[in-house]
Amino acid sequence: MSPLQICLAFSSALFAVGLAGALARSNSILVLLGIELMLNAANLNLIAFWRFSPHGSPSTGVVFVVFAIAVAAAETAVGLALVISIYRHQQDIRLEEATRLKG
């Protein structure tokens, strides 16, 4: 396997772990963590393709990753605020309990 394929396999495995975690756990903080893991796997791809592209421009991949990390940080802040808000209403952060809007 070429190094690029190893990098892509690495990020695929990380994405699958994050997906399984986000689907399996019922704690909303852990679901958020699984989503973060999937975002990180996408960033790995960006860096890997930047590193191994035949004629890459000097810092495109790093710029992409820096912006993606900034957006992920904003998403985590809002997600954790939502978790705390749910906790205040329900006294519980398990997703099974947050069924007030269920049809």
């Binding site: 990098c7 399984a20 756990r25 903080i29 930047w50 790093v62 957006v71 904003a74």
Partner: protein, 171 residues
């Protein structure tokens, strides 16, 4: 060179998998911090020092602390916070879905004919990165700044809540 990459990849995926399967929330957050450090090591390996620095600063430093706060704020006493047990069938289906996605992605990666890696790869200095960010990507940088400000103000408003109801006539 590839040995380092394989070791970093295996360690990162193993700690992530362990984090996703531990029953205790605090263990999960700590293990994920280790996993994020592994990703920063991968960035260093790939020559993206600034991305590694940002990863350590934001994920290992800031997001893990915010997660710790959320975990500690949302648990009551130790006794009435049982480790969140996913139901068995749900976990099985989730692992099945994850394995299916992993199989599809890995098969696609293994069968794709990607070009062989160039020897040195692009080198990026922080100076070049700064010129890029302030030149061609200046508008995006401003938008990200506005997004972060709005998101953080929104997070504070959401987490602060409505507060106790004030009596009539007072401000």
């Amino acid at each position: 060179m590839n040995t380092v990459l394989v070791i970093v990849a295996l360690a990162t995926v193993a700690t992530a998998a362990a984090a996703m399967s531990r029953p205790s929330l605090l263990n999960c957050v700590l293990l994920l911090t280790v996993s994020w450090t592994g990703i920063a090591a991968f960035y260093l390996w790939a020559g993206a020092e600034f991305a590694a620095f940002a990863q350590v600063l934001i994920y290992v430093g800031a997001i893990s602390m915010a997660l710790m706060f959320a975990v500690l704020l949302t648990r009551r006493t130790r006794s009435d916070f049982p480790p969140a047990r996913a139901s068995g069938s749900r976990a099985a289906y989730a692992i099945l879905a994850g394995a299916a996605v992993a199989a599809v992605l890995l098969a696609a990666v293994a069968r794709s004919s990607v070009a062989a890696a160039p020897a040195p790869g692009p080198a990026s200095t922080v100076r070049q990165l700064g010129v890029q960010l302030m030149g061609p990507h200046a508008a995006a940088l401003l938008v990200v700044g506005v997004l972060l400000t709005v998101a953080l103000i929104g997070a504070v408003v959401l987490a602060a809540g409505a507060g106790p109801a004030r009596p009539e006539g007072t401000r």
